[in-house]
Amino acid sequence: MTRGRRLAAAVGLVLLVGGLAWTAFGLPAFGHYHHRYGAVAARESLPLRRAENAVNTTAFDYRGFDTIGEEFILFVSVVSVVVLLRELGDEADHPPHRERPGATQQHSTLTRWVGSALMGPLAVIGADVVTHGQLSPGGGFQGGIILGVAVALSFVAGQYLILRRLRAIATWMDMLDAVGAGGFVMIGIAGLISVGPFLDNVLPYGHSGLLTGGIIPLANLSVGIEVAGAVLVVLAELLDQRLLSGPA
């Protein structure tokens, strides 16, 4: 590291951190949030949407359009990982995807069994978290991660290379990602079709239980699919790099 960089960084960090610390003393005291926005957002969730989880209502209804944007950031990241780890023309001349010698033998029976045994329960938990987003802590993002991990366990359990041979799996995972991302936009467009604004909550809000919140559970579902697909594609791409030796 050069002297210039060290000097610039030292001065800059002192000024920045000092300035921010000085700013912190001007913020409202910790634990004394008092603005109307949060209070109204929390209070109105149940009466207006029959949705008990106000965080979820904020993310998928009041500010649902943000979530579409965020979902697409996720989608773009996944497409980007695929683009950046793609094989190039000159590499494709050789037979691609040769398994690295010994790659299949690296797992133990125990991992395989434990992994397979956990898969089912985790998938159920994931589905539960996705579908109960409007009712209890959780929702599409959290549940999607759990769902993705449930399937990913089968990779970790050593079955990845076996699954990998089924090329269909890869296409299927890519599809999940796109379906999840497009699904949320379609929910928004449903509002337009019913002659309301984009993302209008067109469905009945229900009374209690799973089918409350109108479009909120559907939005959670589409995000759940998207997130699970994203986790799987990214993991598969990274595992490809580790387990399959390209012709380099």
């Binding site: 590291m1 960084a9 960090l13 920045l16 951190v17 921010l20 610390a21 912190a24 003393f25 913020l27 409202p28 005291a29 910790f30 634990g31 004394h32 949030y33 603005h35 926005y37 949060g38 209070a39 957002a41 929390a42 209070r43 969730s45 149940l46 009466p47 008990e52 989880n53 106000a54 965080v55 979820n56 209502t57 904020t58 993310a59 500010r63 943000d66 979530t67 965020e70 950031i73 996720l74 990241s77 996944v78 980007s80 990982v81 950046l84 780890l85 009712l135 209890s136 802590p137 929702g139 993002f141 959290q142 999607g144 991660i145 997130v227 994203a230 990214v234 791409e237 990274l238 790099q241």
Partner: protein, 114 residues
Amino acid sequence: MNVFPYLVAVWLLGVGLYGVITSHNYIHLILCLTVMQAGTYVLLLSIGYVHGARAPIFSGIPASARVVDPVVQALTLTDVVVEATVVALLLALVIQVDKRYGSIDPDEISRMRR
């Protein structure tokens, strides 16, 4: 104690930045970015906190209960998952850098190019 959580956030931002500037390893550098990011989450969540209030989930608590701000939680929530995949994207770039240069030290790589 009224500003302590904010100062933690500031510290995380600063220490993450220090890490990014001085890093000699791209993977370490990316993790420093996530440290910075943790700072923004601590800041967001602590802003919406209310002493003695409940989580803003009205199952089993009265509708009039005092709850913390759901908005900052929603903002944080969406950002956490997204940034995880952005990190994956950065790591994908690093994998390619490693393939082409055989090194993941930013300074060494720029020396190689010159």
